[in-house]
Symmetry: C2
Subunit: 310 residues, 2 copies
């Protein structure tokens, strides 16, 4: 008789769940026994999402009790006190004791962490970081944030705030970020800010311009788009090089929409990172393997870590 792991992902606009037989962990490419994704209603709240997720999980389990439950949450989580701090997308998530609620429902140990830490763990265990001793996963998208795996486990920091590369300063005289500082990596390298700066620079009045479109225009040779895209790539590269000098991880794994910006972008990121790091500080920078399923695979990796916590 096999045992089963239940992976859950509260993603802001979507709820996903999947069941993995423990025996699949021996496989090179483990396969879900069941897997489903539903949309979260736009006018929903935390309570609604939790109830919908419990129904979804139980349906996929089909009466089986899971060995454990791993949960990815798209917002700040207090890992030690097992509490969700808040959601930027869905109301009612302030200080929800999600772990306790789910432990009662599933009669199994539950672990919850935020999506950046979870994605880092998932890439390390099943994706672009297999066999690596230390990595920094960075998502470059609407925001820029990351998660560390050091010595084979998540490094969350003293109060769970580690990984905020998006708000490291790489140009103290640069443009002002929403956080109040100047020249943060996120201010220069995130999709929405690149779109905004492209509009200002080019004089475009198309309010629908996105980071993706800036990358496409740059690939077509648009001078302004190229300038903005490469400035963002350089800022990110300096941030990665600084992180390399500070922590000397073996690998950086980059995910998120902006990483689809093409070879020009990747070259500039790698070049700036290598220029910033000392010559003895070596690393590689690779694309993430997972997209939508990253949180679920990371939740599985989080459950595997349970035995080490005793």
């Amino acid at each position: 008789m096999d045992n089963y792991l239940l992976a859950l992902d509260f993603g802001g606009t979507k709820l996903s769940a999947a069941v993995l037989p423990v025996s699949e962990l021996q496989q090179d490419s483990p396969t879900w026994l069941a897997h489903e994704r539903v949309f979260s209603p736009q006018d929903g709240d935390a309570r609604f999402d939790i109830e919908a997720m419990i129904r979804l999980g139980k349906r996929l389990l089909g009466g089986k009790r899971p060995l454990s439950v791993g949960v990815s949450f798209g917002g700040p989580v207090d890992y030690l006190s097992r509490i969700v701090r808040l959601s930027h997308h869905v109301p009612g998530w302030e200080n929800v004791p999600l772990q306790k609620l789910l432990e009662v429902e599933f009669s199994s140990p539950v672990r919850v962490d935020n999506d950046a830490n979870i994605a880092a763990l998932g890439e390390w265990r099943f994706g672009a970081g297999r066999g690596i001793d230390s990595l920094f996963y960075v998502t470059v998208s609407t925001g820029v944030g990351g998660g560390w795996v050091l010595n084979g486990s998540s490094w969350r920091g003293h109060e769970g705030m580690a990984g905020e590369i998006g708000h490291t300063v790489v140009d103290p005289d640069g443009p002002v970020c929403l956080c109040g500082k100047r020249g943060c990596v996120e201010r220069l390298a995130s999709g929405p800010y690149m779109a905004q700066d492209f509009m200002a620079l080019s004089g475009s009045i198309d309010a629908d311009i996105t980071g993706k479109m800036v990358a496409e225009l740059a690939a077509q040779g648009d001078e302004y788009a190229r300038k903005i895209l490469l400035r963002g790539a350089r800022a990110l590269g300096i941030g990665l090089g600084n992180a390399a000098n500070l922590i000397n991880p073996q690998r950086f794994v980059l995910g998120g929409g902006v990483t689809k910006s093409g070879e020009l972008w990747w070259q500039k990121v790698r070049h700036a990172a290598e220029q910033t790091a000392l010559p003895e500080v070596r690393f590689d920078i690779v694309p993430a393997v997972f997209a939508d399923d990253a949180p679920l695979w990371g939740a599985v990796a989080l459950m595997e870590g349970l035995k080490d916590e005793g």
Copy 2:
């Protein structure tokens, strides 16, 4: 009958050794049984230093066999292969298997690490970092470098290069550093560079000006000195704030000559670090407790970690 730990410090210009009874580790302020420091000859080499250190250690031990030997080395050490890579001050240290040599001499397990990691460990165990879960120790002196303690042990990085905050970039358009980059923390905040920049700014032709003198002049109200000192403090603070956003350590401990620059300097460092870190990223910044003896106490802490390595 007590057991004894032997702590050794190869410091570039000085050799230090001390013997600690294991029972002293229970004390709040452990006291050396024996402790001595000798100057290393200016025309010496690695072989001479090693032989002098072995004689010194054996004399302090007085015929006792140490339980273990902990060694601080003032230069890059490959911790995993137990080899000293090189010394910037003394010839002949390239790839010396220091651990093996000392294990034969003392018939005891030996651990060697570089002085930044060792000082971090010493401050964490016996000094300004007692009871703290994670800290970054930074020495601000001729150079700027640091060492991490995460979860109660040294974090050295994938290839032992972690802690190089001095070569993180905080101003990509700043002055050129010896490492080739612009606006490194070390280029702006180290003693010799502050002295050099003060001379250039003030038009002084006194070639003996030091970082310490710049701090003294700033305290006396000299406008140029104040500008250079505060620029250095700001660069260091941005570097610390960036490190806080990335790793979220509980505390920063600062040592080295430049930290004696007075309240003006400390205020600016703390202010810039707090401005750079996100509001949720909290930490404190405190002076190191140890000065000359830091490496010896760190070497003791390194020996305590031996049992965890199995």
